[in-house]
């Protein structure tokens, strides 16, 4: 039990550090910055209390916002993603049985299943992030384009992280 908490704290610190120190300083093609920190929320154990997931999402988003001085931006997008997560999990994998402390992963959900789960959450997060940031419907096409390209980068990084650092691939 304690083990899983420590593991998640370490993961939180590691992902936030990668985001702040490396990814936030990078601008692929001049303007694309991938977001890997949301993986912390994505792969929290299935049975985590839904309310706790919301609070953790709030804390994660706020941490990123403090370091980039973007008040509320990442917080609102991440909280929204955490809000969708339980419905998505039961919608996609309602028939599966999840053990205590089991995390979403390729082994449990299958390659296609996990990929679908990650893609939906990443796109929901990125789309709400860019929409809230721009708040200009004249630029709707730009928002879609940035969402699509950034999601591609984020999902690739998420998979690299999963293959390198998690055991239940």
């Amino acid at each position: 039990m304690n083990n899983i908490i420590i593991k998640n704290i370490v993961r939180f610190l590691f992902l936030v550090a990668i985001q702040i120190f490396i990814l936030n300083q990078m601008h692929f093609f001049g303007y694309l910055t991938p977001f890997i920190y949301i993986l912390f929320i994505i792969i929290l154990p299935f049975q985590t209390n839904k309310l706790l997931v919301l609070l953790l999402a709030f804390a994660t988003g706020l941490t990123i916002d403090i370091f980039g001085d973007t008040p509320g931006l990442h917080t609102s997008a991440t909280v929204f993603m955490a809000f969708v997560r339980p419905a998505l999990l039961s919608g996609l994998f309602g028939k599966l049985d999840f053990g205590q402390n089991e995390e979403p992963g390729i082994k449990k959900l299958g390659f296609g299943g996990f990929l679908r789960y990650v893609i939906v959450l990443v796109i929901i997060h990125h789309f709400s992030l860019f929409l809230l940031e721009t708040l200009d419907f004249n630029r709707f096409f730009d928002i879609l384009k940035t969402t699509f390209l950034t999601s591609l980068l984020s999902i690739s990084l998420i998979y690299i992280y999963i293959f390198l650092f998690t055991r239940n691939k």
Binding site: I20, N24, H27, T33, A57, G72, L73, T75, S76, R139
Partner: protein, 271 residues
């Protein structure tokens, strides 16, 4: 009342979501305007010092480039020194300092947002205040919007809410420079009267009409001007002088006359 609590408790997931989202969105609402971001920001010494440690390391990679930049700037400044001029005009003397420049190191910056922020390692104790101008090697970078004791955040010219008073160097026509929000290399000038001829490569400089920036700092050069017959005012695309994606050191401008000018404006408004 009791029913309300029961209802909220039964829908506690949704209620908590709403509460957290309202907190986040009310923070976010401050970032949609320049004046509101002056009032609320998250810059603080703790996050600043963590970012500072990292840029201490990464700065070594840019030393060569920065040296070259400094050399160029030194040469430019030498050219403006008193002894670089042939003294025929004896009426020009420097009476008092008007601007003081405070050098600062960039510890974090973005170019991919709609409101781009730069965090630097100088703050209140170094004399930085909100609404001071920021330049890098004679090019306009942005305006200070938040200060903590040791750090400050700058809203860069790459912000949809930022407008800079500028002028066309060749004819002194006043224009305003803004950023349309698509790429970090190019900005836009608006309100160009139809009789003004602009050609590619024309320089846009700060007008000196605001108390934030002195006159003559570079903003960019014109790359495209679409003049239209049916409109009185046209737009032009400019390339920014400053490379926002490659910014490591900046100077913050303190206008020593600002308190006096401010009280003058307040007095004028009161009367």
């Amino acid at each position: 009342m009791r029913n309300l609590f029961i209802f909220l408790w039964n829908n506690r997931f949704f209620s908590l979501f709403l509460v957290l989202e309202v907190i986040a969105l009310s923070m976010l609402s401050t970032s949609y305007s320049y004046h509101r971001s002056l009032r609320f920001n998250l810059v603080n010494d703790a996050s600043g010092s963590i970012l500072g440690v990292y840029s201490n390391i990464s700065d070594y990679f840019y030393l060569k480039k920065e040296n070259q930049k400094l050399l160029n700037e030194n040469a430019y400044l030498r050219n403006q020194m008193e002894n670089a001029f042939l003294k025929t005009d004896t009426s020009a003397i420097f009476i008092d300092t008007l601007y003081k420049y405070i050098p600062a190191r960039v510890i974090s910056s973005t170019t991919n947002m709609q409101t781009n922020k730069i965090i630097v390692d100088k703050g209140k104790i170094h004399g930085i205040e909100k609404e001071m101008g920021v330049i890098s090697d004679n090019g306009v970078v942005g305006i200070v919007v938040g200060v903590s004791n040791h750090y400050s955040t700058i809203m860069s010219a790459l912000s949809k809410n930022a407008n800079f008073s500028a002028m066309i160097k060749s004819n002194g026509q006043l224009v305003s420079v803004s950023w349309p929000g698509d790429d970090y290399l190019h900005g836009e000038i608006n309100d160009i009267p139809s009789h003004i001829q602009l050609s590619e490569g024309d320089t846009i400089i700060s007008s000196g009409n605001s108390i934030i920036f002195p006159k003559g700092l570079f903003l960019g050069t014109v790359v495209e001007h679409n003049q239209r017959e049916d409109k009185d005012l046209s737009k032009a695309k400019i390339e920014f002088y400053v490379d926002f994606n490659n910014l490591h050191y900046v100077n913050i401008i303190k206008n020593l006359m600002k308190p006096e000018l401010d009280s003058l404006i307040i007095n004028a408004n009161n009367e």
